[in-house]
Amino acid sequence: MPGVLPQGVSWEGSFPVSPEAVSDKTWHAYVHIPFCDVRCGYCDYNTYTSTEVQGVTRAEFHQPLITEMNQSKLVLDQAGIQTKPFSTVFFGGGTPSLFSIEQIEALLTSLQNNYGIKPNADMTLEVNPDSVDLEYMQGLFQLGINRVSIGAQSFDPEVLKVLDRTHDTENVSKAVSQAKQAGLMVSVDLIYGAPGETLQSWLQTVEKTLSLEPDHLSAYALIVERGTKLERQVSKGILDMPDEDLMAAKYELLDEKTSQAGLHWYELSNFSRSDRAISWHNRAYWSSNYWWGFGPGAHSFMGDVRWWNKKHPAAYSKSTDGDLPIHGYEKITQRQHLEERLLLEIRIRQGLQQSLLDELEVKPELVDQQLDLGYLEKFDESYSLTLKGRQMADRVVLNLLN
């Protein structure tokens, strides 16, 4: 989750979600582990590189998370909101694999005790290839984790240097095989478009990744985020801003290679070998299901409210004592919700349902325009992005709303 929290209404203690606003959607849990060994140059996520931040230690940090889990259940009960077992659980960061198996276990136990976790839930943990071994992978599997997401980013050492990544590319291959050996599904995360990355370099990264036969692949075009080291380097002219046309070429190359390898897009940055290997947790965001984000800076969504926690681990830990560690929230109007659905649902392969466009009162000629330009294609009662359209999703959304 990006560095800067949104502007919202500040939190004043009472839980702003009413039971009437909560509909029958699936529930999902995100757990944020805000620690890394090294901060990467492009990263603006809420993470800290020391093992202790103002009296909050990495080794004990599962405690405040558990406090929030307990507290959340209490608050929901008090508000009269019927909770549901989680359909997915996702440990993100930061580097969640810096937590010990025991810490992960404690967190899962708390989720299980407070809410329950559905059988066959998609349970994913993000992994840094440097900080795992076979034993750790096996430990995860035994806890019920069924999927790891391995941050490989690139197989080109020059690109890794630009991204400030420290891992050895060999460790990625090793981590993939260990995960598979442990019985876990494997997703590999890649980043393309780093300054200096050529089309050839990207092709090699993609081919190397596919040779590892992952179940799932996420590939993100690099975003130069405000406040990052990368942004400073770009603004000082040390590094070149990524070229958008080259990015588009890389995406098309990626789509071609993944298809050939049997991985197909289901969201514009995500490719999966099978329905089972899809990140159902992330899929929940794009379908506007409900999720509770536990941990500093995490966002949650329920009913017509989205809220976000205090960002700093120390501030977060302090306020879990007797209250939710929430920083701010926003009430989402019906219109806003529809527009959010538009910008989220356009990203997934199933695309935009005619019913949503009708509710948004999108003019048919605007849809036709996008069809004519070749950015959308029509199926029975829905519209999906074409290959060219996937690179232009945000512009298509804007032009549909006019």
């Binding site: 989750m1 949104p6 958008e244 046309d245 990015m247 910008l343 990203r347 690179q391 804007l398 006019n402």
Partner: protein
């Protein structure tokens, strides 16, 4: 002929901007005792904030000062003249109100082109010229050198040129003495029916129009009705008086005197500079010579950046017109810029002053199209068109196009003569003559199309001469030229704001430049956008904006949604402000930037 007012001296100061006219006037006000040291503020006479800020005088005014030589009391009327070429008509009327002029020259810079032009105008009006070198306190002053130069121009003895410092006051009492000695008292017939020449007309929010006049014949008293000779309009006289320097009512004004009239009129166009004022009862038979209707020379489309400001812009222009008889405007619609006004101005500075006042005093953000001159187009079928907006250039067989030309005078150190000649030649200039004012200063006279001057000529001149050259010009009729209209097409749609009338030989270069500029400024769209420059149906330049290939944020998870929706809301807002040219979205900023080699801005360096 006896003078109707032998103790009166009417004079003005001819000076270039920055040569210290207002500072000298300040010292005179103090020395004659009419403004106390306590009341004194810098550049007392420059009223508008804008004037004070830019250090220029836009509107002339008159001040009455007492001065004593021995036992004799005299009255000196100082008429402040505007210093810019755009206002040369007002200058000529100010000069016509005087018997003498102080030629004020900066002792560190020498005479400048505009000063020279005004000096010649004063000499044509038979004014007594008192040459003065100012700023002799400056270390860089070279009074001997510039005294020689002035002596050469006036045919006087360099020794006779007074040396003063407006800043310290040195030499100013001597100057006041000399005004009394050298400038003749006014002429005119005290017994004749009254005739007063309007040399300035100022709108005051509280009092209405204040008309500054020089009485030529007879007298006007505070109790009579006055008549404007150009229109025959009769007005009640609410107040008559003199500026000393604050308005001071008197019982009347008589031949030779300078003062003001207030009639309750709310619009300066009813009290025009150059017109003759007479009495309703005792009407003069002939008006004074030299009255000319102000004629706009330069036109520009003025549009509010926010279309919602259109009514406010109309109201603001209506208000400005009350104080500016030369401003003309009519509503105009542009495909690219929406609703606005085609406005006519005396020149570029006038244009800039008006747009700046609109933005500053009325808080309206504006976009102004490139200034255009007036073309007279005759078609093969004999029909005639007056074109002030290039997009209205007629289609069909054109027999002849006439464009305004000016006589330009350029003064420069001799080292830059080569570059200046080159510049004038590329601007279709024809040399009239060239002469040395002194050993190292040259005067070049050129005939140039006005259209070439309004397009960044001054900027080029200044930059090619390290700022040393100065420029003045006066209109000099029309000439037939081989002109064409160059249109700009975005995806086949004409963008009216970019149509331009240029010389045939320059059409290609113009087309390449505009298409290139727009290619840089218009963001990539979902489709390829050709940008073409065309003369009629012939494409003379072409660029193309490739379709954008990527516009998506790759990551969108739970914590990104709020931020992303807010971004979308902002983009929607931005899209609403886009101007649509066919299917092409053009941000207003692109139009502003493309139109914005704004030649009006260039003139700022003139001050």
């Amino acid at each position: 002929m006896d003078s109707p007012a032998p103790k009166l001296r009417n004079f003005c100061i001819i000076a270039h901007i920055d040569h210290g006219k207002s500072t000298l006037a300040d010292r005179m006000l103090q020395l004659t005792g009419i403004v106390s040291d306590r009341q004194m503020r810098a550049q007392y006479l420059d009223r508008m904030d804008l004037e004070r800020e830019r250090g220029i005088t836009i509107k002339s005014q008159a001040v009455r000062m007492p001065w004593k030589i021995g036992e004799e009391d005299y009255v000196l009327n100082m008429i402040d003249t505007p210093g810019h070429v755009d206002f040369s008509y007002e200058v000529s009327r100010s000069l016509a109100a005087c018997e003498g002029a102080i030629l004020l020259v900066d002792a560190a810079q020498g005479i400048e082109a505009q000063t020279l032009a005004n000096l010649y105008l004063a000499m044509e009006n038979d004014l007594e010229i008192i040459p003065v070198l100012n700023k002799i306190d400056l270390p860089a002053a070279q009074p001997e050198k510039y005294a020689d130069e002035i002596a050469g121009l006036l045919g006087c003895d360099p020794e006779d040129i007074l040396q003063v410092s407006g800043k310290t006051g040195k030499g100013v009492p001597e100057l006041l003495d000399r005004i009394v000695e050298l400038i003749p008292p006014p002429t005119g017939e005290l017994e004749a029916p009254p005739r007063a020449m309007i040399f300035d007309s100022v709108y005051d929010a509280y009092r209405g129009v204040i008309t500054y006049v020089r009485m030529i014949d007879g007298n006007l008293s505070s109790r009579e009705k006055i008549k404007m000779m150009s229109t025959g309009a009769v007005h009640e006289l609410l107040e008559i008086g003199v500026s000393a320097p604050e308005p001071t009512p008197t019982k009347g004004l008589s031949a030779g005197e300078v003062g003001y009239l207030i009639t309750g009129v709310k619009d300066v166009r009813q009290s025009k500079v150059g017109d003759t004022v007479t009495s309703k009862e005792n009407t003069a038979t002939t008006s004074l010579k030299g009255y000319v209707e102000p004629k706009p020379m330069v036109f520009s489309g003025i549009y509010p950046i926010d279309g919602g400001d259109y009514p406010a812009l109309r109201e603001a222009l209506d208000k400005l017109r009350l104080s500016d008889a030369a401003l003309v405007y009519e509503p105009e619609t542009s495909v690219a810029l929406g609703f606005g006004f085609r406005c006519g101005f005396l020149g570029l500075l006038h244009l800039e002053i008006i747009t700046e006042r609109l933005e500053r005093e009325f808080d309206i953000s504006l976009i102004a199209t490139s200034p255009s001159v007036v073309y007279e187009v005759t078609m093969e079928d004999g029909s005639e068109h007056r074109v002030t907006n290039p997009s209205e250039y007629p289609v069909g067989k054109i027999k002849q196009v006439l464009e305004p030309v000016v006589n330009a005078t350029i003064l420069s150190p001799k080292d830059y003569v080569g570059t200046i000649i080159e510049l004038c030649q590329t601007r279709r200039g024809t040399m009239i003559d060239m002469q040395y004012l002194s050993e190292d200063r040259v005067q070049l006279r050129y005939q140039l199309p006005l259209a070439e001057i309004v397009f960044d000529f001054f900027d080029q001149l200044k930059s090619k001469t390290q700022g040393y050259a100065s420029l003045d010009y006066e209109e000099s009729g029309l000439q037939a030229s081989d002109l064409v209209k160059v249109d700009l097409l975005l995806q086949g749609e004409q963008v009216d704001a970019f149509s331009a009338i240029v010389h045939k030989d320059k059409a290609y270069a113009h087309g390449v430049s505009v298409t290139g500029k727009l290619k840089e400024l218009i963001p990539r769209q979902q489709f390829e956008v050709p940008i073409q420059a065309a003369v009629g149906s012939r494409i003379i330049a072409r660029e193309s904006i490739r379709a954008v290939r990527k516009d998506v944020l790759a990551k969108c998870y739970g914590g990104d949604i709020t931020r992303k929706r807010k971004l979308l809301e902002k983009q929607k807002e931005g899209k609403r402000r886009m101007k649509m040219v066919g299917r092409v979205e053009v941000p207003q900023e692109a139009f502003i930037a493309a139109l914005g080699s704004d030649p009006g801005k260039v003139e700022k360096k003139n001050q």
